[in-house]
């Protein structure tokens, strides 16, 4: 079986978890004999090609005069509506892009219809244009390549998937890694929402990364439950040298939050819980690693609670520093308000760090050897942290069973479930 897969990024050029997940998944699929043609908007040339044939969308020539593309373009104009709410964009970059957009508005139609389009490969202001353009690439590839199934990851690639389906008549599977509700709470971007909904409606099957996400898809998007299947994410096992405890230079125990400091990740609950623990035990240090729009507010809150001497901010951590952070942590906390899956607890567990996760995360569905609390239940969260710091057998148990649990979450197993979904549509 051959799959035409539309993604938005691929390692090593990643800005979020999507690229990592796609990489693990394609490797897993390969083990089940599935061949993958992976399309990314912009290929840099140094991507791992061990599991896939990577297609650079920028290299695909679209012959716009062919009627089929004209027709399709007419159908997808809804995607052109400009939006100023784009995920993963900081305020400074945002302003710059809006200004740029104003300058280029008049010319907007021309790059779209150019024969070759250079993708930025980033989540930028002209994202909607890129998404539309990427759809045309999808249609072109669909008419040129041989494949059995189309698989599209997250809303950015749904129009491409839908276009490919229209041109080739092959079945479409769309994969929900996150919904607009997870990203934006109740203030959803209606354009994004529409693309997500239409993509899922057109799809033959929808794969969600957790039952939590599956429920959102069914309840908030009105998708027929019969075609929505949960396939939990997995992690790639990593062989890395054991980081020595010498990484740790403070004698106090360290409790860590690591992630974007945004509404979705629930940083304020972490601070409130820290306050409760510190009231009882001063020999603990709390670390908030990451950055985001709520960071300044969090710093102010920590100061107001008078816990700043035991509460530290690191700013954005990358690569090796993430591993070092885990190596010096005694407890990892993920208090997310809404987390479709949540890979970071698995990384912590892999580093032998016991974790506390919110029940509002998809990953809670697959883990037993963790402490689960409601994100809003600060008392329970504080209690969980305190217990991990004081009752040694808890940590012993988590180290003993947690590592094993994480090692069993293999992409190879997750891919088997994806293949089952493929087979369903392949037979229809």
């Amino acid at each position: 079986m051959k799959v035409l897969m539309f993604g938005w990024e691929f390692p090593p050029h990643i800005t979020g978890g999507l690229g990592t997940a796609c990489f693990g998944m394609t490797k897993g699929l390969l083990k089940h004999g599935i061949e993958v043609l992976f399309v990314v908007p912009k290929a840099y040339g140094d991507e791992s090609q061990e599991a896939v044939r990577l297609i650079n969308a920028s290299d695909v020539t679209v012959k716009m005069r062919e009627p089929v593309f004209q027709d399709y373009w007419n159908q997808i104009t809804f995607m052109e509506i400009g939006s100023n709410l784009i995920p993963y964009v900081g305020p400074v970059e945002f302003e710059k892009m809006v200004a740029e957009d104003l300058r280029t508005t008049e010319e907007k139609m021309s790059p779209v219809f150019a024969e070759r389009f250079s993708f930025s490969g980033k989540y930028g202001q002209d994202l909607m244009t890129e998404v539309s353009r990427y759809a045309l690439i999808g249609a072109t590839l669909a008419s040129e390549q041989q494949f059995d199934i189309i698989h599209a990851h997250d809303w950015l690639t749904y129009p491409a998937g839908v276009a490919a389906k229209h041109v080739s008549g092959k079945p479409l599977v769309v994969h929900m890694h996150a919904t607009e509700f997870d990203r934006s709470g109740e203030n959803v971007n209606s354009n994004v929402y529409d693309i997500e909904r239409k993509g899922m409606e057109e799809a033959d099957r929808v794969i969600t990364v957790s039952n939590l996400t599956r429920n959102i898809v069914i309840e908030r998007y009105g998708i027929n439950p019969d075609k929505v299947f949960t396939v939990h994410n997995a992690v790639e096992p990593i062989e890395k040298a054991e980081l020595a405890n010498s990484e740790k230079h403070v004698k106090e125990k360290v409790v860590t939050f690591l992630g974007r400091i945004t509404f979705q990740k629930g940083p304020e609950y972490f601070i409130e819980a820290a306050k409760k623990v510190l009231e009882r035990d001063k020999n603990v240090r709390f670390v908030m690693a990451g950055t985001g729009d709520l960071m300044e507010k969090m710093i102010r809150r920590a100061a107001k609670l008078r816990i700043a001497s035991n509460f530290h901010f690191t700013g954005f951590l990358k690569g090796e520093n993430v591993d070092r952070m885990f190596a010096m942590s005694d407890v990892y906390v993920m208090p997310s308000v809404s987390e479709p899956f949540g890979i970071s607890p698995l990384e912590a567990m892999r580093s032998n760090v016991p974790v506390v996760i919110s029940k509002q995360s998809g990953v809670a569905e697959v883990l037993d050897h963790v402490l689960k609390v409601d994100f809003w239940d600060i008392d329970a969260m504080a209690d969980a942290i305190y217990s991990l710091l004081h009752y040694d057998s808890l940590t012993t148990m988590f180290r003993k069973h947690g590592t094993e649990e994480v090692n069993n979450l293999k992409w190879e197993n997750a891919a088997r479930h994806i293949v089952e979904v493929y087979k369903q549509v392949y037979q229809e």
């Binding site: 009882r280 008392d379 209690d383 217990s387 004081h390 009752y391 057998s393 148990m397």
Partner: protein, 476 residues
């Protein structure tokens, strides 16, 4: 005359005067009645600040519900059966101290109804640890105290001093046998665990290897669980279970086998098996159906011990219980959480052995309840529908955290009490005999082999190979 002597006398009388009673084989019904004091959600910031640990609302609610659904209607049925069949129908109970306390507090009518049963003289009440504890594993002094406290409670309530013993969860080993025997008990109930019996049948009276004076009744887990676990399982091949069908299973048991021990939680009736499943109708019908066959009669553990001679002695070096497939201790002790919690609590056993602070003694009792450790069992991640049913906590980790918070506060109070006692001039007892700590070992293959060897050695002198009743039934 003491009840035991009276029984012996009647049995001798029966033996010599009434042929039918000798021919008729025994069924021993024993029901366990237990309610723990469930803990409230106790956060670490309560430590040192709030010393009340129990979820009164939940405890009251649960005890009232089970009284209404199980204890009261089931007692009513048993009372009716005793009136109808007289001396031929007898049952035995073991009621924990923590259950009795809660009945007194929330449902005194349950105590009354057990009293009515006691007055018939057809009901034997067994001895056990007051708070359904696992003290036998830690501290003999504590174990003795608990057994004595329980016996006094039962005697005060029902006017009869218990003479047969059952340990918490039917936990048994040579070591436990030793302690029980030295407490003066001559009869004990335990599990007919395969790892101990091998090819032997549970349907005989046995005796303890280290103390041949201690007679053992072994639970027939197949026939017990047919009622306790499988009764309402509609996907069970034998569903629906009727009294007639059950009698047929009893009747295929080889004639030489003298006693069938059917032991279960009393909550089976109306709680684990809901009234809608027909469990009460089954309970009502079974004695009549069985008695009409003229092959079986219902006797209590003490009666059976007096009537029968042990066929063999059992050597049990590793602990057995009536729980799960493994029939061992792993539901309560053995994982890191359970062991830390257990060790932490018993670290103050010496002080508590002669503590005169009523509140501390009460909490000491309630915290020893085996249920708390059961909630921390991690086995159910893979296999425990039953565990999950009984567990008020979402995960064993939550159970552990809550318990440890409570025990942390308890230890602070004990420490304060010790200091207070020192200033009062009464030193803390130091010469406490603490049992050598022994890790609870699962039965290994070598143990099974060892048990089998013993079994083989004894084969010549005892009964022939006995297949289980179900196998015979299926072969037919």
């Amino acid at each position: 005359m003491l009840p035991g002597t009276l029984l012996k006398f009647t049995n001798k009388f029966i033996k010599s005067n009434n042929e039918k009673y000798i021919v008729m084989r025994s069924i021993c019904l024993y029901f366990q009645v237990h309610q723990p004091f469930r803990l409230r959600t106790y956060r670490f910031f309560d430590i040192g600040a709030d010393h009340y640990y129990y979820d009164d609302y939940q405890n009251k609610h649960i005890v009232k519900r089970i009284a209404e659904k199980c204890y009261l209607p089931a007692n009513e049925i048993l009372l009716g059966l005793i009136k109808e069949y007289g001396a031929d129908f007898r049952v035995s109970f073991s009621i924990t101290g923590t259950a009795i306390e809660q009945f007194k507090k929330y449902t005194p009518e349950v105590i009354e109804s057990f009293r009515k049963l006691a007055k018939t003289g057809n009901v034997e009440f067994l001895a056990e640890t007051y708070s359904h504890s696992l003290a036998a594993f830690k501290n003999e002094t504590e174990f003795r105290q608990q057994v004595q406290q329980h016996a006094q409670t039962i005697e005060k309530l029902f006017g009869v001093k218990p003479v047969a013993f059952r340990n918490t969860e039917l936990v048994y080993s040579n070591e436990v046998a030793d302690m029980v025997y030295r407490l003066g008990y001559k009869v004990m109930l335990t599990e007919g665990a395969k790892q101990v019996l091998g090819w032997k049948s549970p349907n005989y009276l046995y005796k303890s290897k280290p103390h041949p004076g201690l007679k053992l009744l072994l639970r027939n887990y197949q026939l017990s669980d047919d009622i306790a676990f499988r009764f309402s399982q509609t996907n069970w091949s034998e569903w629906p279970l009727t009294a007639e069908k059950y009698l047929n299973w009893l009747n295929v048991i080889e004639k030489k086998q003298e006693v069938v021990n059917i032991f279960m939680d009393y909550e089976t009736f109306g709680e684990h098996q809901k009234a809608e499943s027909g469990i009460f109708a089954f309970l009502k019908a079974l004695p009549g159906t069985v008695l009409r066959s003229k092959k079986w009669i219902f006797r209590t553990p003490s009666q059976i011990a007096d009537l029968l001679d042990p066929v063999d002695s059992l050597d049990v070096p590793y602990t057995i219980s009536w729980a799960d497939e493994e029939r061992d201790m792993t539901a309560w002790l053995g994982n890191d959480l359970q062991d830390e919690a257990f060790d932490t609590l018993y670290s103050v056993a010496a002080t508590m052995s002669d503590c005169d602070d009523e509140d501390l003694v009460r909490d000491w009792n309630y915290l020893q309840c085996s249920d708390h450790f059961y909630y921390m069992c991690t086995k159910w991640f893979s296999d425990g529908a039953v565990h999950h049913y009984f567990n008020p906590y979402g995960t064993p980790y939550e159970a552990f955290i809550n318990y440890m918070n409570v025990v942390s506060d308890f230890l602070i109070r004990v420490k304060e009490y010790e200091e207070m006692r020192v200033t009062r001039g009464k030193p803390v007892k130091q010469s406490e005999k603490v049992l050598k700590e022994k890790p609870v070992k699962p039965v290994t293959t070598s143990t099974v082999k060892a048990t089998k060897k013993v079994a083989v050695a004894e084969k010549k002198t005892t009964a022939k190979k006995i297949a289980n009743p179900k196998a015979i039934k299926k072969a037919k």
